[in-house]
């Protein structure tokens, strides 16, 4: 008796699971291209905001290479690097990097560096900093992140690359010093590393497996 009920219920449950899975696979199939396009768009918008689109002639998004360097780029995962060239002449690098020491976890950044070593600009792609305090690193919340535009980094011990409280050249926020400190350090590390490895990065083969701006595996907590 009980076995026949179990069998029947099991079959009904399995049928529901199969139908539900099929529907979701279909939806996923229909939306996958659009989702990828959205992510590409978002990244393209950030890329073009950082590197003037008339300064390069290649497909910036497609000209991508990946690097794993936990010391310079702050992540165990491969970080994409986009290379802008004008008629094969190197123009700028846009490096995805991570500040692992934010106030609430990782802060994901995109930093663009001109071939002459100047910072073209930086943007926060994803973060979890406190609303109203640390989230001022986000360009949607305040203009703070623009203060890196056209700055230079002399070396890893450049004293200017600190918040003012520590004697540096960049503002901290009232009530939030940890977040800007983390972002400044991450940009400085990234710029120093990118400038040191510039030729190698421009020469590296085009290859990006995980070419998305916000890999989901990074946002676990």
């Amino acid at each position: 008796m009980i076995f026949s009920a179990m069998k029947r219920n099991g079959l009904i449950l399995a049928a529901f699971a199969i139908v539900a899975t099929a529907l979701l696979m279909f939806t996923q199939f229909l939306t996958a291209d659009r989702i990828a396009a959205q992510q590409r768009n978002e990244l393209m918008l950030t890329l073009t905001a950082l590197i003037p689109s008339d300064s390069y002639s290649n497909d910036l998004y497609g000209d991508c290479t990946e690097v794993i360097n936990i010391n310079a780029l702050g992540s165990r995962l491969p970080q994409p690097i986009y290379r802008a060239r004008f008629n094969d002449k190197p123009v700028a690098l846009a490096v995805r990097t991570t500040a692992p020491d934010g106030y609430s976890g990782d802060i994901h950044l995109l930093v663009a560096i001109s071939v002459n070593g100047t910072v073209l600009g930086a943007r926060v792609l994803e973060h979890r900093e406190t609303p109203g305090l640390g989230d001022k690193v986000d360009a949607r919340r305040s203009d703070w992140i623009y203060s890196f535009t056209n700055e230079r980094v002399r070396d890893a011990s450049d004293v200017r690359w600190q918040v003012r409280r520590d004697g540096g050249a960049f503002d901290q926020f009232t009530g939030a010093t940890i977040t800007p400190r983390a972002v400044i350090n991450a940009i400085q590390r990234t710029v120093v590393w990118a400038n040191e490895n510039q030729q190698r990065l421009f020469a590296a083969p085009t290859q990006c497996s995980n070419n998305t701006p916000m890999p989901e595996e990074l946002s676990h907590e």
Partner: protein
């Protein structure tokens, strides 16, 4: 008998969902997403609409399959139905409202854990025909969404001095003009934006609802002939 009765039934359902048995204010269900995302009106509207869609979809589906689902396995089936709708909505938001998707982040999958949804599936949709279940989902979802909006508005005004900040993420570029700057703060009231502000705001809203209810009751008591006694349907 039918026409008048149905109309009254729908009226009673609407009254229940929006006020008497409001999922957020009376049943106190779905507090996790409610308190977490109501920092701005835009976020509240986004999650409110997503919850409304899921609730309607799950209510209608549960009602349609109710005769094929044996009693013993109804809960797992409800969970499958709800999870499917949530994933569907999540994929759709990811594809069509990307900015809002990044803003709402982990709270979309959390709609699955909104007990208001499985609560309605169990308490109403599994016992009633699909059009009634759908309407129940609509009003319950609206009741939930309205509370989200109210709380979002209160917290946004106090915490940021704005309304509809970031509406373009949800509604497209034209909505950027909806943003209203009400107050300019040098130091916004952070408490309103942080989770404790959500709890305090929620408490104030529930208190106000109770005051209105009591006022209404006293008014009814003074003139008892006017209306027949309503049965108050609250479970907790």
């Amino acid at each position: 008998m039918s026409d008048m009765n149905t109309k009254n039934e729908f009226k009673a359902l609407a009254r229940d969902g929006l006020w008497e048995n409001n999922p957020a204010l009376v049943q106190l269900l779905g507090l996790c997403p409610l308190l977490a995302v109501t920092g701005t009106v835009t976020n509240a509207l986004g999650l409110g609409l997503a919850t409304l869609l899921v609730l309607m979809g799950s209510n209608i589906t549960v009602s349609l399959v109710r005769n094929w689902v044996p009693n013993e396995i109804r809960i797992p089936v409800f969970v499958i139905v709800i999870a499917t709708f949530v994933t569907f909505v999540e994929l759709m938001m990811h594809a069509f409202t990307y900015g809002l998707f990044t803003a709402l982040g982990i709270f979309i999958p959390l709609i699955v854990t909104n007990c208001a949804i499985i609560g309605r599936a169990e308490a109403y949709a599994s016992k009633n025909p699909w059009h009634k279940a759908g309407f129940d989902g609509l009003v319950m979802g609206s009741g939930f969404a309205l509370v989200l909006l109210l709380l979002g508005a209160i917290r946004e005004v106090i915490g940021q001095g704005t309304l509809f900040d970031g509406a373009e993420l949800l509604l497209g570029d034209w909505a950027a003009g909806l943003r209203i700057e009400l107050i300019q703060f040098d130091y916004p009231l952070l408490l309103a934006v942080l989770p404790p502000g959500a709890f305090i705001g929620m408490g104030v809203i529930i208190a106000i609802k109770n005051i209105i209810d009591r006022y209404q009751k006293e008014k009814d008591a003074k003139s008892p002939v006017e209306k027949a006694q309503r049965v108050r349907v609250t479970s907790q």
